[in-house]
């Protein structure tokens, strides 16, 4: 296994452990807002971000923790944000659902499903106009592709040939509703209708597969200014929102999680245990930073509103 593979696995494990810390803290109510955990979806996020440069920008959804950390977001500022503290990345006004980290390229996380397709499209248009060689990556779930705006943005980004990669994490569920109740189309055919290159990543636990599928499209977006759609088959271990498991509920197949867990390198790769102590120490430091930070003053209530 190469060094970069090890680093990616370590980064994915770090995201997993951050969210496990959130699960541990959640009952104490220090994080007083909804959280949408990425557990199960970390590794492909890390692998995809490894193909980006710092100046490339990312837009994502309320399930934002993995993208935030994989795109270089600061862990102290993230925990302070979850705690609603003044030192949070957005002074506590964003919380878990709206993480951002503009200095490393995370430009926003929307709790309105599908809203970010067009934000990414506008940002990619600016990159194209400026000829700066940067690309934009838009990371959403498959449910978002049901929104009309997805069609509108595929159309516009194909029309203008924008340097933009839409990454669709297909975890098969929109809140609790399975895919077969919602979609009549295949994403590949939809992309083809707009003559947008498409790649499907079947194994989201295999770094080589992810890189092999995504790299050509990301490079093509950068060098030839072309949009692309990448679909990743993935699995959400936890409930839609909150920190519990729901695979014993009627909308989920209880055996599926076992199948995923059996293959999950973050679980089965025991070599990764070597990283646990240092990651734990980093997380504790971030939690400590959040706990020691002050809550926002009353002055903050009306700051930054026009």
């Amino acid at each position: 296994m190469t060094v970069s593979h090890k680093n990616m696995l370590r980064d994915a494990l770090r995201i997993r452990m951050v969210e496990e810390k959130i699960i541990e803290l959640y009952p104490s109510d220090v994080i007083q807002s909804p959280v949408h955990l990425s557990i199960g979806q970390e590794l492909h996020t890390v692998a995809l971000m490894s193909l980006l440069q710092t100046t490339d920008r990312v837009f994502t959804t309320y399930r934002s923790h993995a993208a935030y950390l994989a795109k270089g977001g600061d862990l102290n500022l993230m925990f302070a944000e979850l705690y609603g503290k003044q030192t949070g990345i957005a002074k506590g006004k964003a919380g878990s659902m709206h993480l951002c980290h503009p200095s490393t390229g995370l430009m926003g996380s929307s709790a309105i499903v599908g809203a970010v397709f067009s934000h990414a499209t506008g940002a990619a248009y600016a990159d194209k106009l400026k000829k700066n060689g940067d690309i934009v990556l838009c990371l959403t779930g498959e449910g978002a592709t049901e929104e009309g705006t997805f069609h509108e943005c595929l159309n516009f980004s194909a029309l203008k040939q924008l340097p933009l990669v839409y990454v669709i994490e297909n975890n098969g569920l929109a809140i609790n509703i399975p895919l077969e109740c919602r979609q009549s189309y295949r994403l590949e055919a939809l992309a083809r209708a707009y003559q947008i290159p498409y790649a499907h990543i079947e194994d989201s636990f295999n770094i080589d597969t992810i890189i092999a599928a995504a790299r050509p499209l990301i490079e093509q977006a950068r060098s030839a200014s072309k949009p692309a759609v990448i679909e990743i088959a993935t699995y959400r271990y936890k409930e839609h929102v909150g920190v519990s498991c729901d695979h014993n509920r009627k909308h989920r197949d209880a055996s599926a999680i076992t199948m995923w867990e059996k293959r999950d390198p973050l679980i089965v790769d025991r070599d990764l245990d070597a990283y646990r102590d240092e990651i734990t120490a980093e997380i504790l430091e971030a939690v400590c930073f959040a706990e020691k930070s002050e809550f926002p003053d009353h002055d903050e209530l009306l700051k930054d509103v026009y």
Binding site: K93, S110, A124
Partner: protein
């Protein structure tokens, strides 16, 4: 005295924004066709290139989110809607994203942009090409909503927004103002802070707070009343619907004791309700009489000419309201302006756009 039309002022502002600010991009359905948004964007594509001036697919919501993404990336988007009604298709992006981006992310982002839209009226624009929805937009914290009532305010607002403002601005222009000529003062191009209200006529007998074309109607009504009776109306152009100058309104009503609100929208939950709220919550005792509201009939806009005539308040309604308030009685017995007088300006309008 030199004159300037509303159309001319907006056209100059669009050219200025393209010329002086290389970050400006201008887009919307019809910005490059032979109509050119009633002339205001004509030839700009040819001059500034199709990367900066371009048509959009019929996708208002996505193109509004597109404007946000472009703005976050340092561009200055001007997004144009030939009818304000189409902005309802963009409400998700406007309300859920644009209005919140700066605040929700703790001030890390600025989202300067201008969204221009045109309110239609007369000659059968009907229920879906005539709406004046300023109240909907102004309800949302995080955006400036303006309704330019003159060439001068339109020009200054757009130049200020494009050159000195980091916030999203939604503008509702009025179709019937496009051919109005305004006296052009020497200081026409002086740019002033536009996110406030302006006193456009001084008077001591009654205050009229008006929006958009109702400012012109109010001026004509005030001049008529002055000529007939000597009564002097004070007129405040509300201009920035979302951030009105409350003190200007209160001070004026303190002086006159009487208030008429003349708006292009519906009365309940709208501008009329809001101005009444300002008075009622801040200084209700300044009123010597109940507030009079002139607004649309509480119905969708009918297409039929006869019904449309009753649907909109006009100068005669304003004169009637002034007399009722100032003579303290409904049946004041005063002569109202003739139909011809009232029709003079907007009721002669014809045309598909």
């Amino acid at each position: 005295m030199k004159t300037d039309t509303y159309r001319g002022a907006i056209t100059r502002a669009m050219r200025h924004a393209m010329e002086k600010n290389e970050r400006t991009i201008l887009f919307g359905q019809g910005v490059t066709d032979h109509v050119g948004i009633l002339g205001t964007t004509l030839n700009l594509e040819k001059e500034f290139g199709s990367d900066r001036v371009f048509e959009t697919p019929l996708a208002e919501d996505s193109m509004t989110g597109f404007a946000l993404g472009a703005s976050l990336s340092g561009l200055y988007p001007i997004h144009v809607h030939i009818r304000a009604d189409f902005m309802l298709l963009a409400m998700n992006q406007l309300v859920n994203s644009i209005a919140k981006y700066r605040y929700m992310y703790g001030g890390l982002f600025a989202t300067p942009m201008l969204i221009r839209s045109i309110v239609g009226r007369s000659w059968g624009q009907g229920a879906q090409h005539s709406q004046s929805l300023q109240a909907l937009f102004a309800h949302i914290p995080g955006i400036y909503v303006v309704m330019p009532s003159s060439a001068r305010t339109a020009y200054a607002t757009y130049i200020y927004a494009n050159s000195a403002c980091a916030s999203p601005v939604v503008s509702l222009e009025h179709r019937l103002l496009y051919d109005y000529s305004f006296d052009r003062k020497d200081d026409e191009d002086v740019i002033f802070y536009p996110f406030t209200s302006f006193r456009v006529r001084q008077g001591g007998d009654v205050t009229i707070v008006a929006t958009s074309i109702m400012v012109e109607e109010a001026i004509r009504a005030a001049n008529y009343v002055k000529e007939m009776t000597g009564l002097d109306a004070e007129i405040i152009d509300l201009h920035c619907i979302s951030h009105p100058d409350e003190n200007l309104i209160i001070e004026s009503v303190r002086k006159t004791g009487r208030l008429i609100v003349a708006d292009t929208g519906w009365e309940s939950f709208g501008v009329c309700a809001e101005i009444a709220r300002i008075i009622a919550t801040r200084e209700p005792n300044v009123l010597r009489a109940p507030i009079k509201c002139l607004s649309l009939a509480k119905a969708p806009c009918p297409t039929a000419h006869r019904l449309e005539h009753w649907y909109y308040p006009d100068m005669a309604n304003l004169v009637d309201s002034i007399y009722s308030l100032c003579f303290d009685r409904f049946d004041h017995g005063k002569q109202l302006p003739s139909e011809e007088y009232v029709k003079e300006v907007h009721k002669t309008f014809k045309g598909p756009f």
